[in-house]
């Protein structure tokens, strides 16, 4: 099954290359290629998810091949740089999330009519990068794909964005570029300190390992992680490096101002990919690298992580309350929800981590749905400004209804995916930080406040004459709405569809880090 993961990345790339050879005028053909190039990987992702073994806790579907080798300063033997892919209970759901959101974003952006060829080229590269970042089982591969998303997203914003797109794109590039550099420092530090510690241990390894001990392969590192005890100071230092990278990458307060600009200036499909998937990579990386390999760092700075999370929860929610633009509101709402994930990670509990993964998936689906419906209404009303809308339930009953479902999902209504995520992660966080968690629950009230307040001003109220003749959802718009709502309800009502996959892995991590 290992090849499946490779195909997830390869097919969108091939499709992107294929678009380059198509005439720019044949827009339908390009759209078709893009659609096929995203649907096939999604089907593979579904197959991988369905065949995912629930009883093993480590990596599955491992694929790895040496790409090139370089000399390294650590030892005489050359270091093999690999393309390595594998999934475990944490990355598998996120890989499938990429699959779901990517197809829907491609469909949504059929509406884009300018420079279609370039648009889908970058979008397909972005999608490949997203798959690659989540499916990577090798630090180099991870970083490579992370950079691919950075570049692709930059062009998507800079070319197809709104009036202030240049500004927003540059801001995006600077922030995330800087985050990447910090992340890279963390990854290199982790690889070297891991290797030197491994060399220092005299145990006879039960697993085959690279002779020079230096590896970037997560599967190899995972196989010996039980034998490697990095010094506490190293763990702490590296943890802070990763934490800084993630704070910028995930737009946590105070490194958050780029996200609202990004969302405000991007087109709807790109926003679905950014808000739905791209904004989950940072926290995923925190779990994947920092939590897994630097447990003592988490021990030491867990409280800091949780406090930063709570700050973002409350700050994001309060600013969302004052936001006048739907896209900015969603951006701040997303910051607030990602703060919950940070709080859960800080808790070091298996249940907290499970809730964190649930929240990443749930927030991804709901944010994508929210951006989709907000974009769909703006296609009609020509505005995202909350104060200019009103009474849309009458001309747009279906879109308004779906928007309400998305809003209630973000509010954490049971029966939708948001609740089970919030509940699970709060059980984890209360176990370690009861007082802090109580403060964080204020965010639950504020979420209801800003979302229902905005809904009241958007869909409720008397119909405005200028919106009287608007046409409700078209057939093609039903696809993203139905798919996303179905998944959100499915996870909300039968959470074991997600829980069975996540559970084993988080239990294993928590057992090792002593949560």
């Amino acid at each position: 099954m290992g090849d499946v993961l490779l195909l997830l990345v390869l097919i969108p790339v091939l499709a992107a290359i294929l678009t380059l050879f198509l005439p720019a005028g044949s827009k339908s053909l390009i759209r078709g290629v893009a659609l096929v190039g995203t649907i096939i990987p999604t089907l593979f992702a579904v197959v991988a998810y369905a065949s995912f073994g629930h009883n093993t806790t480590g990596f599955q579907d491992v694929f790895s091949t040496t790409w090139f080798t370089i000399n390294n300063a650590f030892s005489g033997t050359p270091l093999a740089i690999q393309f390595g892919f594998a999934v475990d209970g944490i990355s598998m759901p996120l890989v499938l999330l990429v699959g779901v959101v990517s197809v829907l974003a491609v469909i949504r952006n059929f509406a884009i009519d300018t420079r279609v060829k370039a648009h889908y080229f970058w979008m397909l590269l972005l999608i490949a990068g997203l798959y690659g970042a989540f499916a990577a089982a090798d630090m180099f591969s991870f970083f490579f794909f992370l950079e691919a998303t950075l570049v692709a997203t930059y062009f998507l914003i800079a070319i197809w964005g709104n009036e202030r797109r240049q500004y927003a794109a540059t801001k995006f590039l600077i922030y995330r570029g800087f985050a990447s550099v910090v992340m890279l420092a963390g990854l290199i530090g982790l690889a070297y300190s891991f290797a030197s510690q491994l060399q220092a241990t005299t145990i006879s390894l039960v697993v085959p390992y690279e002779p020079n001990y230096l590896t970037l392969s997560l599967t190899q590192m995972a196989s010996v992680v039980g034998h490697v005890n990095l010094p506490a100071a190293t763990q702490g230092g590296l943890f802070l490096v990763f934490l800084l990278a993630v704070l910028i990458e995930e737009a946590f307060v105070p490194f958050h101002t780029w996200l609202a600009d990004t969302h405000e200036q991007s087109d709807t499909g790109t926003n679905m990919l950014i808000g739905g998937v791209l904004m989950k990579i940072g926290l995923y990386a925190l779990i994947r690298f920092a939590v897994t390999f630097l447990p003592q760092g988490l021990h030491e700075y867990g409280t800091l992580v949780a406090v930063l999370g709570v700050i973002s929860i409350l700050y994001g929610a309060l600013v969302a309350l004052a936001s006048r633009d739907w896209r900015r509101l969603i951006a701040f709402s997303s910051i607030s929800h990602m703060g919950l994930v940070l709080l859960a990670i800080g808790s070091m509990q298996a249940i907290g981590l499970q809730g964190a993964v649930f929240m990443l998936v749930s927030s991804g689906l709901l944010t994508a749905l929210m951006f989709f419906t907000v974009g769909a209404q703006a296609d009609r009303t020509k505005t995202f400004t909350i104060g200019e809308l009103g009474g849309l339930s009458r001309p747009l009953p279906v879109l308004s209804g779906v928007m309400l479902v998305a809003a209630l999902g973000l509010v954490g209504l049971p029966g939708l995916s948001g609740f089970v995520s919030e509940f699970t992660l709060f059980v984890g966080s209360f176990a370690r930080f009861p007082a802090l968690s109580i403060v964080a629950t204020i965010g639950m009230i504020l979420a209801a406040l800003y979302l229902l307040f905005a809904m009241q001003r958007t869909t409720f109220g008397p119909q405005k004459p200028e919106y009287a003749g608007l046409k409700d959802a078209r057939a093609i718009e039903y696809i993203p709405m139905v798919v996303l709502i179905a998944l959100v309800i499915w996870i909300g009502v039968f959470p074991s569809i997600l829980g069975d996959v996540v559970h084993g892995t988080v239990q294993a991590i928590a057992a090792r880090i002593g949560g």
Binding site: F144, V151, V427, A448, F460, P462, F494
Partner: protein, 639 residues
């Protein structure tokens, strides 16, 4: 039969799904028929379930795995206890009648089918709440009834008042819900389970120790009780659970949402905001009664909040001019009585009053709905003279009013007096006195409504007449129940008391005190007399209001709760949001932009996106990054 109890909520759910699929294509009559029959069958099944429980006793929970969760998966399922069975019957019965009533009330609304969808969804959620075997499932349905309430209060979404009221209802109850949410999590962390059965198994009212008998199930190495003593922790948890009940049951100080919720269609007010959902808070306290039994401080709090609410709301009810608002304040007040009952330990009396109140309050609301339907206004000053014009509505409303006023032998008399007796006999004399005073006000305000609506001559311009049989039949059935339901637990035939306590005694159930009962009956009659005195002659009411001056204003303006909350809570939050927004824009992002400007000035910028050859640039950038990464790795020794 208890094994089939799952059918009770599932039937309305099926009706909801059917209407969701086919609702637009079938007639109003079919929509009503489908819904009424589904819920009627639910009611019949509930009756059988209740009979089964009465004969064979309670049955253990039936559960299925729901979510892997730490060492023990979370389960979901259903459970039938005496308490659940009683609630199933009450909820499904009132629901059936309201669904029938809505046929005429909502006739012609262009979202008729949607209305029935929401109502069915609500009935499903409420019944699901009732038979939940664990706290988490309870909470899930608890939120679902809340969202149904939101949807139904805001059903006429184009009315700005309705939109505002729906949001207010959701957010205010959400504050309570968060308390409950925290309480449930703390209970889980301390005990390792959500299941009522496991939480309260050893002995229902045993001392605190039994709470921790189950501790350790979850494998947590420490008990996160904030370093509190076990009794302190139990009190904290009980109070958190009660916060949830305060929100849902519109108790002081979170009562402000319920009167506004009257913006919803009247059948909704009858079903959700009188008979069922708002009683869920009371039901929650009853369901977790051992928790309150283990904490005297928490129980006292319940009783005191109940007492304050009962009196406060009754006082406000005296002066309101909107017929639905009077009845809404009456609901808040009556829920306060139930809380007094549970707080002083009178478990059976509290539930008894919940049941009788469901009947007579649904009746009063539906009768009010019948009036509003006929006269097209909710303002009491534009009614009058309906006694002759709407005889069935008149006689049924009168039955409800007498039940509410606590006049024997109507249902409310028996249940309210059971609560007041329990308060008295348990030594809560102040609460008893507050309850008695509230009873006096109650009798006054409901007969004020009765006189203004039915007495004198009609002041409006329409030609009021009774609605169809779909309207009058539910009124008649409820009127019979409001008249007779009290005998299910009258002092001489305490069937309900035996039913609810068939396995063990729960709380206190003091013997009837005939002296107290006579006293409160007299108080009720006095209130009625005063109403007739004041409103019997033109001008007396106005003079009384003038003489009361400040007190009248206080009552009429609902003690200014909304205004105070607005100034103390709502506005500060919004201002804080605006302030942070400002700081965000001009200070945090301002610094960022300043740095950016500095960057541009020194020529160090990243603005290379203006050319046409974007793809080329992209590839170059990508390649560049890869090379940088590779080189960094190669010379990684620098780290």
């Amino acid at each position: 039969m208890t094994q089939l109890a799952w059918l009770v909520p599932v039937l309305p759910l099926a009706a909801y799904v059917l209407l969701l699929i086919a609702g637009r294509r079938i007639s109003e009559a079919s929509i009503t028929g489908l819904s009424v029959i589904a819920v009627l069958i639910s009611f019949i099944v509930s009756l059988f379930v209740m009979g089964d429980v009465a004969v064979h006793g309670q049955s253990p929970a039936v559960v299925y795995n729901w979510l892997p969760f730490g060492l023990h998966p979370i389960t979901m399922g259903f459970q039938v206890t005496s308490l659940n069975a009683l609630m199933l019957v009450v909820v499904s019965l009132v629901s059936t009648l309201v669904l029938l009533f809505s046929r005429s009330y909502m006739h012609g609304d262009d979202r008729f089918s949607r209305f029935y969808q929401y109502l069915n969804l609500f009935v499903f959620s409420m019944l699901g709440l009732v038979i939940s075997p664990n706290l988490l499932q309870f909470y899930i349905f608890w939120e679902l009834v809340g969202v149904c309430s939101y949807l139904l209060v805001g059903f006429w979404y184009f009315k700005p008042e309705a939109a505002a009221a729906a949001k207010k209802a959701f957010i205010v109850t959400r504050i309570g819900d968060v308390g409950l949410f925290i309480g449930i999590i703390l209970i889980y962390l301390a005990s390792g389970t959500f299941n009522f059965q496991d939480l309260f198994s050893s002995s229902t009212l045993a001392p605190v120790g039994s709470w921790f008998a189950v501790h350790g199930l979850a494998g947590f190495t420490h008990v996160p009780v904030f370093g509190m003593s076990a009794p302190g922790f139990v009190t904290l948890v009980a109070l958190l659970v009660f916060v949830g009940a305060v929100g849902k049951s519109a108790q002081f100080p979170l009562h402000v949402w319920l009167p506004d919720a009257m913006e919803g269609p009247t059948p909704v007010s009858a079903l959700i905001h009188a008979a069922t959902m708002v009683a869920a808070g009371v039901y929650l306290v009853a369901r977790t009664f051992p928790l309150f039994g283990a904490s005297p401080a928490a129980s006292e709090t319940v009783a005191i909040i109940g007492g304050i609410t009962a009196l406060l709301a009754a006082t406000i009810g005296l002066t309101q001019r909107d017929i639905k608002r009077v009845i809404a304040y009456s609901t808040i007040s009556q829920l306060g009585y139930m809380m007094i009952g549970l707080g002083v330990g009178a478990y059976v009396s509290g539930m008894f009053h919940l049941m009788t109140h469901a009947f007579f309050k649904a009746l009063l609301f539906l009768a009010a709905g019948s009036i509003i339907h006929a006269v097209d206004t909710q303002d009491l000053r534009e009614m009058g003279g309906l006694r002759k014009l709407m005889p069935i509505t008149h006689i049924t409303f009168l039955a409800g009013a007498l039940a509410l006023a606590g006049i024997p032998p109507f249902a409310g008399f028996w249940s309210k007096d059971a609560i007041l007796s329990a308060a008295f006999s348990s030594g809560h004399y102040v609460l008893w006195a507050m309850g008695l005073l509230a009873a006096f006000f109650t009798a006054f305000y409901i007969f004020r409504v009765y006189i203004l609506a039915f007495g004198g001559t009609y002041k409006g311009k329409k030609h009021p007449h009774e609605g169809g049989v779909a309207m009058t039949l539910p009124l008649i059935v409820l009127a019979i129940l409001a008249t007779l339901a009290g005998f299910i637990n009258a002092p001489f035939s305490p069937w309900l008391s035996r039913f609810l306590q068939q396995t063990q005694t729960i709380g206190i159930d003091p013997a009837a005190n005939w002296g107290l009962m006579a006293l409160s009956a007299v108080i009720g009659l006095l209130g009625i007399w005063l109403a007739f005195y004041v409103y019997g002659k033109e001008g007396r009411a106005q003079r009384l209001a003038d003489r009361m001056g400040f007190l009248y204003q206080l009552s009429y303006h609902k003690f200014y709760f909304d205004e105070i909350y607005n100034v103390v809570i709502v506005l500060p939050i919004h201002y804080l949001g605006e302030l942070l927004q400002f700081i965000d824009r001009w200070i945090i992002d301002g610094i960022v932009r300043l740095l950016g400007e500095a960057g541009y000035a020194s020529g160090f910028s990243l603005k290379y996106s203006n050319t046409g050859q974007v793809q080329t640039y992209g590839l170059v950038t990508l390649l560049g990054v890869v090379i940088v990464a590779a080189v960094l790795l190669g010379i990684g020794g620098v780290l």
